[in-house]
Point group: C2
Chain length 413, copies 2
């Protein structure tokens, strides 16, 4: 009998209890052991059939010697960090879906787990149920990974899908996502790209073997995307996606989260609604892509229970055998990062912009929507330029043309 | 120092030696050990810098007590089976890409490995470098898997892509694939679907926890697909893909490899050239897809080396902790399997076929290519029917219409 303590009975915690119960037979067949949830920590009361398992006292779980595995599904840093440290120090394995905590203290907690000969596993922290952490660590371990990129946030992908497919504005699409339970009441972390930033920090730390500090990742959200952007995307046969990316360079890593106009023929363009997709480029493997539901109760809980099963199979070992890195990777300033750009401009002098655009942006194209909704603006589709070159060129253009306003600027692939 | 013996210096064996050398630093950082190839078995001589490692005597590897890990990259059943048994019995871990052997003797060899407290790992046997075996076993272990399907053979996918994109006939496309090294001189195992059949047998055995006997899987190849089929596919906004599938039912499993007309909007349609994609449906996770290069020297060797790294991290344990199943799963006769069908017919009585088609096939549509190349034939796109119902309906149609010839029949999704 393996006893489990669940901390937090929200979406992921309750999903974990549900799967452990529902797929009991499959799980005990796979592990050769019976897994039992002994206690559940939550400050709220729940009207569920296993009411007697609840406690409001964390120490009753942390100090229970029967419990060998703790599911930390509280989320956030405080008190999750404190509980995790206590659990690892007292020799309990910890499985979590907490991306904030892993992004901020992952290396430290991995090292603490190793010192105490237990596991700290967090497959559920990125991509919901999509297997990505373990494949990166194990299956692709023979590769030097050069780049990871993808759609890591289901909420924003849902909003962008609805803006494209149903012609909704950003606010309408966000409201719809909230009603459907895909976006939280306070959607900031999702729509500003912070959630995707935490996830790419976690993935790149594993892939590159050094910790990539989340706080240094350049992050742009989708809250400034409007329906005119969608019209431009359609005209260019592209789709707007919030892409998280970490690309290894000699001196460090380019790490960023930004909206990107991706080609409709690329696999990323087909990833719609709340689905996520993660592409990994390795020197031996080439491109590998992982696709699935990046969030949701059962998919995420499925990853938590997958980790639990792994722990049970290696109860007396650190199954993943990784340690956190003590050294951090240099996150490079993005002004040296190159891409094409679509720059929307308005002003009274659009004819003059038209005239000078190609002088200032070599090999650029003027995109005119020819649509009543986009009157009084044009867009320049540039050649591949660094972020720094774009800034300089725009300054030059302003000098030549006079008053123009930059309505938006998106990277194009 | 961990000593490795490599058996077979073909594509996968030589790729393994190459990656172990090239990514030496990354690998020793990840494992904390130095990995050294001590001996290589091959009957041929190779003009390589590590010539001194070669031996023509298998026992010099199998009886070398320094060697703790053997890479079996010989392929086929004989002598790979014999060597693998000997290696496992003498306490050596075995890592392989040999799908024939795993499909035929996988359960037995897994049990033998477990008895001897070593690992038998075969991530490279399915999907080249795409992580699929380990994710199925570990990350998705909390799920009841209901279905696995996908494009598991790169050779046939390349041929179908070239037929669609370049308008080549089957023979031309096959020849091109052979010239590019994507198809073997004897392409039978690929084009007849046997290779994909072995792979779906391996995957479904793992996912369903009982061995699915390869020999009982219904297999149709792509060698009868012609350019008219491609025209129909285009007209229906679909693409022809060789789909391997295992679908769990109450009484057993439907397991088959057949060409399928997949919707151009489905993710499978975008999988082109030598790429593979594998979709797994689980009760908690929903749909997850894995995509990447399904074959090739370095991708496949990358999976072999990933397994080696896993072994090194758990030298004194059976890392995956799975046992082979002693019981086999019932493979159901496919005549109860349902799908839509596109049935191509020719004859002198096409007008009459037109008239009776809807009487015989309820809710069917006549597809007329209206193309000189497809003169004298039409096709019926049926509603969802079992294989048995299709056969009966065709018999009835023949009775009503007289002499008609069935030119082809493909499943449609």
């Amino acid at each position: 009998m393996i006893y489990i303590g669940v901390m937090g009975h929200g979406v992921v915690g309750s999903g974990t209890v549900e799967i452990l119960h529902k797929n009991k037979d499959t799980i005990s067949k796979r592990t050769g052991r019976e897994l039992v949830v002994k206690k559940i920590l939550d400050i709220q009361d729940f009207d569920v059939s296993y009411r007697e398992l609840f406690t409001k006292d964390a120490s009753s779980i942390l100090e229970d010697e029967d419990i060998s595995i703790i599911v930390e599904a509280i989320g956030g840093i405080d008190p999750a960090y404190e509980y995790t440290v206590k659990a690892l120090k007292s020799g309990k394995h910890v499985v979590t879906s907490n991306k904030e905590l892993v992004a901020q203290h992952g290396s430290e907690l991995l090292n603490l787990a190793k010192e105490n000969n237990v596991n700290y596993l967090f497959e559920a922290s990125v991509g919901g149920g999509i297997p990505i952490i373990r494949p990166l660590r194990q299956c692709l371990a023979a590769n030097k990974v050069s780049e990871i990129y993808g759609i890591l946030n289901g909420t924003t992908n849902y909003i962008l899908t609805r803006m494209k497919r149903a012609g909704l504005g950003f606010d309408e699409a966000l409201k719809e996502a909230q009603i459907k339970g895909y976006a939280e009441a306070d959607p900031t972390a999702d729509v500003k790209g912070h959630d995707a930033g935490r996830k790419i920090a976690i993935l790149s730390s594993i892939a590159f073997g050094k910790s990539v500090p989340y706080a240094k990742i350049y992050t742009e959200g989708i809250d400034k995307i409007d329906h005119i952007d969608i019209l431009y995307a359609n005209k260019l046969k592209r789709s707007i996606k919030l892409i998280a990316r970490a690309k290894r360079h000699e001196d460090g890593v380019f790490a960023m989260v930004t909206p990107v106009l991706v080609d409709n023929y690329s696999p990323m363009a087909d990833v719609e609604n709340v689905f996520n997709a993660i592409m990994v480029k390795g020197d031996a493997i080439g491109d590998v892509m992982f696709y699935g539901q990046g969030a949701g109760k059962l998919p995420t809980a499925s990853a938590v229970v997958g980790d639990i099963i792994d722990v049970v199979k290696h109860l007396n070992a650190t199954s993943v055998g990784v340690s956190g890195s003590s050294s951090a990777m240099t996150v490079l300033p993005i002004n040296n990062f190159s891409s094409r750009r679509l720059i929307r401009l308005s002003g009274n002098n659009l004819d003059i912009v038209n005239k000078y655009a190609n002088e200032v942006f070599k090999n650029s194209t003027i995109i005119d929507l020819d649509n009543a909704q986009a009157m009084g603006e044009i867009a320049i589709l540039t050649d591949t330029l660094t972020e720094g070159e774009v800034d300089s060129a725009l300054k030059l253009l302003k000098k030549k043309v006079g008053a123009i306003q930059i309505l938006g600027s998106m990277r194009v692939e």
